[in-house]
Symmetry: C2
Subunit: 146 residues, 2 copies
């Protein structure tokens, strides 16, 4: 059965392609989420805030923000604070929601808070809509049982 063999291979390759595509966007998601949170808590978001948040040099933070701007997610001018575009705000909101669901799901599974926080960072960008919905209902069910 050569045809089914080929399509299985194809499917496997596509999965890897999606993983690669996810990588391209996950830093952006982390950054817009961080920008939104920092603005909310501190009023403005500066390069140094992002640099310390992600434990990178200010150069790296600055260049990442430039990429966000290029992608239409953020706006900034030299020496001015970082702001989000409408699109950036929307992405930040989605990211935050996803992040929260994954975190609550891990807690409901029985994972400790520290591990849940750590695992969530890695996992959140790779969870499909389908899986996210199931995680949500799992959390709902577990909290009803309490």
């Amino acid at each position: 059965m050569p045809e089914s063999g080929v399509s299985r291979k194809q499917a496997a390759a596509n999965r890897h392609e999606r993983t690669r595509a996810d990588h391209a966007t996950e830093l952006a998601e982390d950054y817009v989420e961080a920008v939104a949170e920092i603005i909310e808590s501190a009023g403005v978001c500066r390069i140094k805030d992002l640099a310390s948040r992600f434990r990178v040099s200010h150069v790296t933070a600055s260049r990442t923000v430039a990429r966000l701007q290029k992608a239409g997610l953020a706006t900034t001018e030299p020496h001015a604070p970082v702001e989000l575009t409408e699109q950036g705000i929307r992405l930040a909101r989605e990211s935050k929601r996803k992040h929260h669901i994954v975190y609550e799901f891990l807690l409901a599974l029985g994972v400790s808070e520290a591990t849940a926080a750590s695992d969530t960072e890695g996992i959140e960008h790779h969870v499909s809509h389908e899986t996210l919905k199931l995680m949500e209902s799992f959390v709902r069910k577990s909290s009803n049982q309490d």
Copy 2:
């Protein structure tokens, strides 16, 4: 409470550091797992097999194998098949086990096979030992309930 603020920040930064570290090793894990599977099913593993598996050019596959070799996970000589070192075999075994647990866990959660396969590729490298164990027992519990 400046101190607790600092330590929360620190913890957040550490999570991001782990995510970055995971990225550095996940391709390696995918590759050794693929090499092991290809050797098992085809006898030998060639660059072209890896290239088609991951949907990348043979150049990319070749260079990744070179990195595996540098990391002590694989051995290869020009124009010869790729083989795994002891360490590579161990990593492949671990990766496969992890992959399998995450996949079965998603199925037990109710995720469709196609989505589970896709999500597993992204998630597996970010799951801690603690979470993995909980996933395992969740699968066990669900299968008992059938």
